[in-house]
Symmetry: none
């Protein structure tokens, strides 16, 4: 009996989250209506405010699984990469490709939430996420450059902006591919092209320096 109430409330919270997912998907964060969300969830607005502080908080809770998931994924990839011998990093694009494919798997398994993320890039919470992601990538880029092209970092070509821009280039490229709603295989293929392109671009910058 003492579990009953708890169980019920968990259901309510889940119902609210699911209703919110459907609403955010259809209308985007800004145009979404808490009233409609509560109606879909079959509860009144008061119930929502028991579980969530406000609209922002609800949104944050909705996308948390994917923001957490992606950040974890990236962390693991970067640790693997740093553990590789330097030589491999230069000649071998396999680890990059593998990480990309792993990300695509995650995307297609969490497509609905990922789309909410991508379709609300003007939302502060989402911007914070992308900034975290980009900063993580920045740090990785700098670490790799220290190993692969030590001259590059002292040179003014690889300034903070360039590094950051490179991070966003990768992010935007991936987003662009996902916006085509390809099937998974086609997306992987396209991601390979992007990877080759970005490596080529990067090397052409590094080459200009070290020589």
């Amino acid at each position: 009996m003492s579990r009953k109430a708890g169980t019920v409330s968990e259901d309510t919270q889940k119902n609210l989250i699911n209703a919110a997912i459907s609403e955010f998907t259809e209308y985007g964060f800004q145009k979404s209506s808490l009233r409609r969300i509560c109606a879909k969830a079959g509860v009144t607005t008061g119930a929502l405010y028991f579980f969530f502080k406000d609209k922002e908080d609800l949104f944050a809770n909705v996308i948390a699984p994917v923001t957490d998931g992606i950040l974890t994924l990236m962390k693991e990839h970067y640790e693997t990469e740093l553990a590789s011998p330097a030589q491999e990093l230069i000649t071998d694009e396999n680890e990059d490709v593998r990480a990309g494919e792993e990300f695509l798997e995650f995307y297609y398994q969490n497509k609905v939430l990922c789309r909410i993320l991508l379709d609300n890039q003007d939302h502060p919470v989402v911007q914070v996420f992308f900034n975290q992601l980009a900063e993580m990538m920045d740090r990785q880029t700098i670490l790799l450059l220290k190993v692969l092209a030590p001259g590059a970092i002292t040179d003014h070509t690889f300034n903070e902006c360039t590094v950051h821009w490179f991070s966003y280039l990768l992010i935007d490229s991936v987003i662009h591919i996902l916006s085509h709603d390809f099937d998974k295989d086609r997306a992987k293929e396209q991601l390979k092209i992007v990877t080759r392109f970005l490596r080529g671009g990067m090397l052409s910058l590094v080459a200009g320096i070290t020589i």
Copy 2:
């Protein structure tokens, strides 16, 4: 004296546009309030609806100068480029750099309006603009590839998606630079780096094909 009425009315429309610019800059299109705009312009809401059909129409009129300006700029650049000898296109990145700088000049001279454009990418009218821009770039890329690497277009690497992605890569890169609020010279410098990177990336894709 006979011009008084005309002058007054023209002023009202300009006042409305200016008030709208300030409002859109501060709040973005969606959260902007027509009431506040009219208050800023010192007129009643009815006056606004004499000059503009609705909120959308007001927005379209606000950004028209920059959307038109940018599309014209790009058109001119692409015509110049197509008029160059093929050999120059491969070896010489000058025309690209020159066009980039010209764009930056335009941006810094119309910064306020350009920022409205960039900060409302989710607005349908703006999306139409970016699509027009990207399509123009797509066509140019295809034309250039036909000249520089005839094999590339038949190969499946340079499919429609890749070309389109390349267009957005350039657009996103430029937007990213602009988001740093650099001074003009720093922006030009950074744009040069981007240009070199993109050419390098592109060549590495083409190289993978022709060999």
Copy 3:
């Protein structure tokens, strides 16, 4: 040359009337918009206010032809009727039928305006018209009763209300027929049935008295 301006303005007035007819037909008086009317007529609102005092006045001018026409028609019919020998009035329904058909002819020749009349019976101007019409019918009924059943008017059965109600019964019956959008012949046929019914009802009232 001196006629030019006059001619032009007459056109404007006609354009306004025609635009108003189309607007009133589509939206009814209340929901009609003077703006839209002016737009349809290709003039500005100021022009409308040169020719018409306000929205009411415009409406009155639009329906004037049919209100005048119908009142004239009825007057003629009633004069004819009063000129007939008493005996004929009792036994012969021909004049009633003929008048009805004449009215139907008028209706089908001025259908658009007549429909505006019928579809805006809550409008004061239209109510005035129907009151005039009903009063005219009232007077006629009383005159006829004096001839045909002198006892009826002193009896309390044929009080003012009964007479008035009888007028509206006829009006409503005709309106009801017209609401079916029959072709002219079918409408005439139906009107004959109504006429027979109303005469029968009337006689049964009169009979109840004289005996």
Copy 4:
């Protein structure tokens, strides 16, 4: 004490309904203002939208008691009528008169709401009501004709239109009487005259057929 909230809220809804009744009575549906209604009820506009979907819904809720009441009344009358021996129907107008008086009682007990109904006949919801009413009367007329004058229905005189027209004739007659704002007794008297008239008219049509 624990009932306080409930009591308060019920009051609010009733206050809104009452305020709406007063507003609809004064201005008619179309020109009624939700703001004024809320002000009269002493609540904010939001409160209204908690209880009612929109203006239409409020209107529908206001008139529901009388539309429901009248339809119920008519249903009962018609069932009683059909249960009577055929002979009585022809010779006896008592049941008709009794039903009429019962209706008048209802009218004078719900006069304010009934007037809203009668004064907004152009409103869709009201039109639906009158159509329901008329259809009910149509069916009854046809049933009675089958018993009283079997030949009438096959004859083209009593076509669908005639039957429907007869229904509206009765409705309009009653409405016309009510528009005079008579006291109850005077109205009953007048209604008797109408009843006799309509029976007489009807019989004269039937007579024309059966002979």
